[in-house]
């Protein structure tokens, strides 16, 4: 158990948190806290890193790290997963505990929500049992003020024996003070003597008995002896494993310790009637009692009824009569605004690109460029780009900020609350509602978010079914087709009908998610739902400015950028496929003809199926590919409105049935390349990645087949 082994363990841990010290003088700070305390906001404000933050537990699914410099000292900040405790009840808690215990951060900053400080103090006290270099950051101080809660931070600091800094990280208030206290804590190397918890006599005696046996094996400056002893008595096997992993010491081979633990446990049970279950309860009670006592001393509430407003809203939006209708209404409003708002800028952009294309064509003629070059660059690359941007940018620029607004308000956990019953009936995890909502943004993001689900079985279900909700890459396809074929382009109610169709699509998507989840949990992923608790955090006033910036830069530009990167080469490839002919017709037509009989069975045509296959890298480019393939056969060059798109599609044999089947197939087909790659990374299994590929595809084919054949049977189309 030499120093090398220890440092190897430390290296692994720091590697997994992506902490690379550039110099030994760099200071590592761990950022801990309960979920929903604005921890990520503190992290972002300190480091300037634009990390996506959602207002519900588990969004810090990957461990973020960032750096900042204060008074010429470089700090590396590690954002730990948000947890309620460190008693290793979940993977997230184990990660947080291991980094605090073995990652050797120079200090831990604990972010607490000032509006429910007492509960947050539990975690603070647990962390203080492990290390004394802790700074408490009492965040959201503006919210608590508004709610009439006064917190005496000076007194709190005295009680806890650590620095306490009130902050409002969203406005950057108090962060300088926080940095200053970090600075002085690191510089002065003063040893704080924070409070310790008084467990009852029997537990204290038991710890006293065990400590002397462990201290020769693990040095006192590495782990707190009393804390370690208590964990061992509590039957926490994960700490034994972590000690092996990071310190290369296997306590389970030290028989004298293992025997002693057993004797003490027996003694506790027989003499004092403390068994494994109520030992944990006694430990937790002692911590909570301490938190209660401290909270009583430092918190004054002026307005007792400060939570009533939130409760009143919740009562309505989770009520039996209105809960689900309101949910649909809110989504409906978002799509309605997106549909009516996107129309005008879309045609504006489209005109702009058309003009630019003409100018480019003139330029190519002027320099006497060969026609294939003009074809590849202008008709292939540029036109596809123009399409992707003018079709996708306006709806995204409207949809993303609106969705982020709902997220920021704290509405998503309420959706999970409203839908949990259905997920339980499907033997799935309640948090799947949250990952499903993330999927509306991007399926790959939704799949990464599935890490918040502990049970591996339920996590797999959530991963495999995530693709059933349409992501933003598929919304433009759905919106465009719904508008032109079902709602009609003009007419007074077209946007309303369009919205209803999209809503119906989403309801269908959610039902499919339920159905497939249930099917999976009855067949290949059998099991019963695991326990689950969900916090409904207080509503927060959204910051409109930040929402705009964040959703436009983080999401809109990200998704658009990805689409462009994929669409540009795809445009070139498709142009080539169209223009190289074998026999009389192009390669693309050969492929489409080959697919035609099968595509026809499911209500599509060969070109549509081909577009979905070529759109594998990104769903966004399905419609642009389709347009290009159709345009090569006709003489149409300008496509500046939805009417023109409709004419193009109708000229190529589209009917209402084709549109419906295309929408259904867009909803249910193989996930895009990025999503599949994410699934493989998350599951580390080819089998489950393949399952995620094949299950939605088969579902889509079956549904489209039934719809198409039924419609034909009854003589429509």
């Amino acid at each position: 158990m030499g120093l090398t082994n220890q440092s190897t363990g430390l290296k692994t841990l720091r590697d997994s948190f992506n902490v690379d010290l550039q110099s030994p003088d760099d200071i590592v700070i761990a950022l801990a806290g309960n979920p929903n305390t604005g921890k990520s906001t503190v992290f972002n404000s300190l480091t300037g890193l634009k990390q996506h933050t959602g207002n519900w537990p588990g969004k810090t699914v990957t461990n973020a790290r960032g750096t900042f410099t204060h008074k010429d000292q470089k700090y590396i900040l590690v954002d730990l997963p948000g947890t309620y405790s460190l008693l290793s009840n979940s993977v997230e808690e184990e990660i947080a505990r291991d980094f605090i215990c073995f990652g050797k951060p120079h200090a831990v900053v604990v972010v607490a929500d000032s509006t429910c400080l007492e509960r947050n103090l539990n975690l603070v006290i647990q962390i203080l049992e492990i290390t004394s270099n802790v700074i408490l950051c009492v965040n959201l101080i503006d919210e608590s003020k508004r709610k009439g809660i006064d917190i005496d931070c000076r007194k709190l600091s005295e009680e806890l024996g650590i620095p306490v800094v009130p902050t409002n990280a969203r406005r950057g208030i108090g962060l300088d003070v926080l940095k200053d206290s970090l600075h002085s804590m690191i510089r002065t190397k003063e040893t704080l003597s924070p409070i310790s918890i008084d467990y009852n006599e029997q537990i204290t005696n038991a710890v006293d008995e065990l400590c002397p046996l462990i201290s020769p094996i693990i040095k006192d400056d590495i782990l707190d002896m009393r804390w370690t002893s208590l964990r061992l008595l509590d039957g926490d096997n994960s700490i034994i494993q972590s000690i092996v992993k990071y310190l290369d010491i296997d306590l389970s081979t030290h028989n004298e310790i293992m025997d002693k633990i057993e004797t003490i446990k027996e003694d506790l049970e027989v003499v004092h009637h403390i068994n494994i279950n109520n030992l944990r309860e006694k430990i937790v009670s002692s911590i909570i009692e301490k938190a209660e006592i401290i909270a009583d001393k430092v918190i004054t509430e002026h307005k007792k009824q400060h939570r009533d407003f939130d409760r009143k809203i919740d009562k309505v939006i989770t009520s039996k009569a209105l809960g689900i209708p309101i949910m649909l209404l809110l989504l409906g409003i978002i799509f309605w605004i997106t549909i009516i708002g996107a129309n005008y800028p879309s045609s504006l952009l489209s005109n702009m690109f058309c003009n630019a294309e003409l100018k480019l064509t003139e330029f190519f003629n002027w320099i006497n460029a060969p026609s294939w070059l003009h074809g590849v660059l202008v008709l292939g690359l540029f036109r596809t780009l123009g399409w992707v941007i003018s079709v996708m940018l306006p709806p995204m620029a409207i949809f993303f900020p609106l969705f982020t607004l709902l997220e920021d308000l704290g509405y998503l956990p309420r959706i999970a609350f409203n839908l949990d019953y259905f997920f339980k009936k499907c033997c799935a995890h309640g948090k799947q509602a949250l990952t499903m909502c993330m999927g509306f943004g991007c399926n790959a993001a939704g799949i990464t978010a599935c890490r918040i689900i502990d049970s591996p079985r339920e996590r797999l279900i959530a991963i495999i079914t995530n693709n059933f909700v349409p992501c933003n890459g598929r919304f433009p396809t759905l919106i465009a087709l719904a508008t032109i074929f079902i709602a009609g382009i003009s007419g007074r109610f077209s946007s309303v009908i369009g919205t209803l169709v999209i809503l119906l699509t989403i309801v269908l998507a959610v039902f499919l998610t339920f159905g497939i989840s249930r099917l999976l949990s009855k067949t290949i992923l059998k099991g019963i739902p695991s326990s689950f608790t969900l916090e409904l955090p207080p509503y927060r006033k959204p910051q409109i400015g930040k929402i705009l910036i964040r959703s436009l830069i983080d999401r809109t530009l990200f998704v658009l950028g990805r689409a462009i990167v994929v669409a540009a080469p795809a445009g070139v490839i498709i142009w080539i496929l169209q223009n190289i002919t074998v026999g009389d017709i192009s390669i693309l037509s050969h492929c489409a003809n080959f697919l035609e009989p099968f595509a026809n069975l499911i209500g599509l045509d060969g070109y549509i199926l081909m577009a979905f296959i070529l759109g594998f890298p990104a769903n966004e480019i399905v419609i642009p590919i389709l347009i290009m393939s159709y345009m090569s056969t006709g003489a149409m060059l300008e496509l500046d409105s939805l009417q023109a798109l409709k004419d193009l599609l109708v000229n190529n044999g589209w009917t209402m049935l084709t549109a419906i089947c295309t929408m259904l197939f867009s909803l249910n087909h193989f996930p895009c390349g990025t999503t599949l790659l994410t699934i493989y990374k998350e599951t580390k299994s080819k089998k489950w990645t393949f399952a995620s590929f094949i299950i939605p595809t088969i579902t889509g084919i079956v549904i489209c087949f039934i719809v198409a054949q039924t419609a034909r049977l009854f003589g429509f189309y």
Partner: protein
């Protein structure tokens, strides 16, 4: 335990508590990970709990626990034994 329930009608499992009513925790009957999760939320003996509202399907139910709103499924709530507090007491 069953006898006690019969004698004192104020003692029940949390899922039986009427919406809007307050109660005090007596005992957790869950074990293993569920028990640990519930303890994490601060559910120890004598903790005050208020039933706030049901979700549209009646399950889960949101409870006020130590100043936070926590939703519990029927399965978990039925393992929490509480004592109903008839008059509204000063909540924390």
């Amino acid at each position: 335990m069953i006898e006690v329930i019969c004698i004192n009608s104020n003692i029940m499992s949390l899922d039986k508590l009427t919406i809007g009513k307050n109660c005090k925790l007596l005992k957790l009957q869950a074990d293993g990970i569920t028990r640990r999760r519930l303890l994490d939320l601060g559910l120890v003996k004598d903790t005050l709990i208020k039933a706030l509202y049901k979700s549209p399907c009646g399950d889960p139910v949101a409870y006020e626990i130590r100043g936070s709103v926590i939703a519990l499924r029927l399965e978990e709530a039925s393992k929490i034994i509480v004592e109903y507090i008839p008059k509204k007491e000063e909540s924390i």
